[in-house]
Amino acid sequence: TQLLEQSPQFLSIQEGENLTVYCNSSSVFSSLQWYRQEPGEGPVLLVTVVTGGEVKKLKRLTFQFGDARKDSSLHITAAQPGDTGLYLCAGKDTNAGKSTFGDGTTLTVKP
């Protein structure tokens, strides 16, 4: 069973601060995705990274896939209250159509 560990589990910051959350595994993934989930709703995809070392930017969010395709990070610059939510990483099995989800990082951005 492939495991994904996310850290920190909880993060509470003030508006305008920067933050980084991490997603680590001992397994190699063919791709890794980051989702954001708001209370009472299903997760929504933010980004997919495929190539080792890949960096993708989505406005104030920067995603990086580790060179060995075992880990990833999400960096948010100048966090806003609208960034509040549960951030989940999901690694896709190399030879299967299913993904393994981490337990998530709950982010709270206070105004």
Partner: protein, 115 residues
């Protein structure tokens, strides 16, 4: 397109009762998934399907059954409900074409309580 729809949104069951959680998608996706999410946690895969007539177990399949008779529908069956099955259940679908085309589209979830 309605995307992924789930019914019911909420349900309370007594121990030992059975029920079926319905899931349908209108995007012609080949892959469908059932997850459960316990409070403050991530998603645990229960079952998934790569196409009509094909299903496979995920991480936590015990106590559940699925079927996939059509591309659109993927119901999840609980035969003998137990308190440990209290959770929020999410259905998802995806169109697996290329390694980077695996976005999963999620339904709104079913909140199940077993008392």
């Amino acid at each position: 397109n309605a995307g992924v729809t789930q019914t019911p949104k909420f349900r309370i069951l007594k121990i030992g009762q059975s029920m079926t959680l319905q899931c349908a998608q209108d995007m012609n996706h080949n892959y469908m998934y059932w997850y459960r999410q316990d409070p403050g946690m991530g998603l645990k895969l229960i079952y998934y399907s790569v196409g009509a007539g094909i299903t496979d177990k995920g991480e936590v399949p015990n106590g559940y059954n699925v079927s996939r008779s059509t591309t659109e529908d993927f119901p999840l069956r609980l035969e003998l409900a137990a308190p440990s099955q209290t959770s929020v259940y999410f259905c998802a679908s995806s169109l697996l074409v290329l390694p980077d085309s695996t976005e999963q589209f999620f339904g709104p979830g079913t909140r199940l309580t077993v008392l």
